[in-house]
């Protein structure tokens, strides 16, 4: 069973830390939802795990392998896949090309592509379309397909429903939940639609001002009377 483990992790850009002293774990087959007000450092935390933002203190490992010194490319090859919120597809490539390119270095690209289309069947409807011309929902689904091409063990997903219509929000979150069940992938997700995400998550973590404020089973956290205040940042 894969475990992504953060211990006392601080991270940021340049000389400034945005995330401070965060410890948490994400295991196979579970969804951990990261919630908090705007500017809490949720996306920065995900980016630091993917190698896009800099880890300045603490440790980060997957199955005992230290990731801190590794590049985004090296982390990807060790099973950590990151789906950014935007600019998450290669616009000039078709969806098929996007998928195939995301399995760089593997010989079984066709098998992986079939596998991903099996998991995300709607992709089959626009495989030959340029990614730059996709609708918001299609683009997010293509981006998710790209992350799955590397057969990750841990998926880091940054606001996958941003810009989607309300009916597509549920659909995307259902797809992610299905992935944990079918493929055993562990998912750490940042999601503005907190209630919808918590309803599908196993555990939740609340980040406020870059610090871990609360953690526990998602259902319990969602039921807490001050959850709304925490989520919207009124934590005084």
């Amino acid at each position: 069973m894969t475990q992504l483990i953060l211990e006392h992790l601080s991270a940021g850009y340049g000389g400034a830390d945005i995330v401070h002293d965060v410890s948490l774990q994400v295991g196979s087959g579970e969804i951990v939802t990261l919630v908090g007000p705007n500017g809490a450092g949720k996306s920065t935390l995900l980016k630091s795990l993917a190698g896009v933002a800099r880890v300045t203190a603490g440790s980060l490992s997957i199955d005992g392998t230290d990731l801190v010194a590794l590049s985004p490319f090296e982390r990807a090859t060790r099973g950590v896949a990151f789906m950014p919120q935007d600019r998450n597809v290669f616009r000039t490539l078709t969806v098929t090309e996007n998928l195939e390119t995301s399995a760089w270095g593997h010989d079984d690209i066709a098998a992986r592509k079939d596998e991903v289309i099996g998991l995300l069947p709607t992709l089959a409807n626009y495989l030959n379309k340029a990614a730059g011309g996709l609708s918001g929902g299609q683009r997010q689904m293509a981006a998710l397909g790209m992350t799955l091409m590397s057969r990750p063990s841990i998926l880091l997903v940054d606001e996958p429903t941003a810009g989607l219509s309300p009916n597509l929000v549920g659909e995307m979150l259902d797809v992610l939940q299905q992935l944990t069940r079918d493929s055993g992938i562990g998912i750490l997700i940042v999601e503005q639609n907190a209630r919808a995400a918590l309803a599908r998550a196993d555990r939740a973590v609340v980040l406020v001002d870059g610090r871990l404020r609360r953690a526990g089973p998602a259902a319990e956290l969602a039921a807490e009377p001050d959850f709304g205040a925490l989520f919207f940042g009124d934590h005084a």
């Binding site: 985004p72 597809v89 290669f90 000039t92």
Partner: protein, 284 residues
């Protein structure tokens, strides 16, 4: 028709270099003004091998390899330490590089006009058109090279990766692509195309250090006309520049040929800044 044939011959020289130029632009978002000097180096490399007794085609192969190596070396020494600087800064640096390369060529070979060791023979005539066998070689090799690069970019794993890195290098790295290796492959490919274009230029023009500026402007103009970022556009742009140059020679005056590139760049930037087949690109 003769004018069209001449235009295609001119375009054939420019097209590979224009494709290489646009490849570098899409990967790194800067204008490499040294393209003319790198082509001239290619011409001298092929001529040098020819002088040593090797056939011209072997000289051309050497120029392609030498051009690839030279562009990679210049990137490692000059451009890589400046990654992230503005396009204007890198343009100025490339102009300085161009001056340095030109002067190294002058130092090594002098300012004499050189030419490949070609047999003297009368031009061929066909359907009223006059052309040399070398012209046919230049056109044929250029078309093959353009098609080969187009096929590489469209149908191979490396080509798709090059397009992906050009589109979004950060995402490419996140998706597990070895971006520095792919960028190096792009630089080698562009350098090889500069070497090839240099050899083709040497078959048609006198080989001399002053060739640099005469080649750089039309190559850059061809890439801009076609749309920066579009290899097919670069080839099409080369045809348009070749045609504009030949029309200038035929109907205005040969000395004004050198100004054609500037005029066309100005017109394109006024009318359709993204070029014929290009699309707006984001700064990196």
């Amino acid at each position: 028709m003769q004018l069209l044939l001449n235009a295609i011959a001119s375009a054939a020289i420019l097209a590979p270099a224009a494709i290489g130029f646009t490849l570098i632009f899409t990967l790194f978002r800067y204008t490499n003004f040294a393209v003319g000097a790198l082509m001239t180096t290619g011409a001298f490399a092929a001529w040098g091998m020819n002088e040593l007794g090797l056939p011209i085609w072997m000289g051309g192969v050497f120029a392609v390899v030498f051009g690839a190596g030279l562009l990679l070396a210049s990137d490692r020494i000059v451009f890589e330490p400046l990654r992230g600087r503005s396009g204007g800064t890198l343009l100025l640096v490339s102009i300085a590089l161009s001056v340095i390369i030109d002067n190294v060529i002058r130092f090594a070979f002098g300012t004499q006009i050189r030419a490949f060791d070609l047999p003297l023979r009368p031009p061929l005539t066909f359907a009223g058109l006059r052309f040399t066998p070398e012209t046919l070689w230049v056109i044929g090799i250029s078309i093959l090279a353009t098609l080969a690069v187009g096929a590489l970019l469209a149908f191979t794993r490396l080509g798709r990766a090059l397009r992906a890195v050009a589109d979004n290098a950060s995402l490419a790295s996140i998706r597990g692509l070895p971006v520095p290796r792919i960028e190096a492959a792009g630089i080698l490919l562009a350098g090889a195309l500069f070497g090839l274009s240099g050899t083709l230029a040497g078959l048609d023009l006198a080989i001399e250090p002053n060739l640099s500026l005469a080649l750089a402007i039309p190559v850059i103009a061809a890439a801009i006309v076609g749309g920066l970022g579009s290899p097919l556009g670069a080839a099409l742009g080369a045809v348009i520049i070749g045609l504009a140059e030949e029309l200038t020679v035929a109907f205005i005056s040969a000395p004004y040929k050198g100004a054609v590139g500037f005029v066309v760049i100005a017109l394109v930037l006024l009318i359709r800044p993204q070029g014929l087949l290009g699309r707006p690109v984001e700064r990196k």
